[in-house]
């Protein structure tokens, strides 16, 4: 793929993800919101591919779209909210929320408007890269980082997930009258 095609693909993904995010937070039917979030996740996975983050794109599709979103949909259908569409979707304070969102976007825009130095790569050689001679693919790089310097945080992440599983069971489990 040459540069122009990549550029066009990026702008398509960006426009589509912003559109689906806006639709996701404004739709009245919660299931429609979930489906727009699904579209958002897939387009973000496409941007990850353009950013040479293939493993992240695969994890985004498998974990986010495949597991987390299905979990949300399950709970949504389990709760059975028949009068959800009849009620106002936003609270009365929604202009305040819009102002906060817009000011955040303006702030982030101001922060990034200064052009980043394209030679920054030479300034910050990564610790993971220094140890190896051959240039590797992105997935191999991520794997080496994950099981090398990040091995302890990686194991701690499994502990966090275990705590979350136990916590979810404790919170949502049937309560016996004591």
């Amino acid at each position: 793929m040459d540069f122009l095609t990549a550029e066009a693909a990026f702008y398509y993904m960006a426009a589509a993800s912003v559109t689906s995010a806006i639709l996701a937070v404004t739709r009245k039917n919660p299931v429609h919101s979930m489906l727009w979030v699904l579209a958002l996740f897939f387009h973000v996975a496409g941007i990850f591919l353009l950013l040479d983050a293939e493993f992240l794109a695969a994890v985004q599709v498998i974990v986010y779209a495949g597991a987390i979103l299905i979990f949300y949909l399950f709970v949504l259908m389990l709760l059975d909210l028949p009068d959800e569409e009849a009620r106002p979707r936003f609270g009365k304070h929604w202009p305040f929320a819009a102002a906060v969102g817009l000011s955040f976007a303006a702030l982030a825009w101001l922060a990034q408007v200064e052009k980043l130095d394209p030679d920054a790569t030479a300034v910050a050689p990564s610790a993971a890269r220094e140890t190896e001679g051959e240039p590797l693919g992105s997935v191999a790089d991520v794997g080496k980082a994950l099981f090398g310097p990040f091995a302890l945080p990686f194991e701690l992440a499994s502990l966090v997930l275990l705590a979350a599983i136990v916590g979810a069971v404790v919170l949502a489990g049937k309560r016996t009258k004591s």
Binding site: V18, A21, V25, V37, V44, L50, L76, V142, L146, V170
Partner: protein
């Protein structure tokens, strides 16, 4: 393939702002949690962009940890929603006015 870093950061900021708006404005707890997921996705986008810009895999590793935390957050958050729903049907935040039941 080099995607311009400034565009990635701008997109990330816009997505995060949409997530902030959704979290503050929606009245349904589940959709507020989904807005949090949108915000986390925006952060992952910025991390992946920096990872490519600085040619450093650590950004992607951090994004993976963010995804793991997002999964934990979804589990605990939805467990809370189910526990609340058992006591009082519905998923509106405005209905949750009692501290004790």
């Amino acid at each position: 393939m080099i995607v311009p870093m400034n565009e990635v950061l701008a997109l990330s900021a816009v997505l995060f702002a949409i997530g902030v708006f959704g979290f503050l404005a929606r009245r349904n707890i589940i959709l507020m949690l989904v807005s949090v997921e949108v915000m986390l996705n925006a952060v992952n986008l910025a991390l992946a962009g920096f990872s490519q810009h600085l040619d450093d895999p650590r950004g992607q590793v951090l994004a993976l940890f963010v995804i793991a935390v997002a999964a934990a957050e979804a589990g605990v958050g939805l467990g809370l929603v189910i526990a609340l729903n058992r006591n009082k049907p519905g998923a509106g935040v405005a209905d949750l006015t009692s501290l004790k039941w």
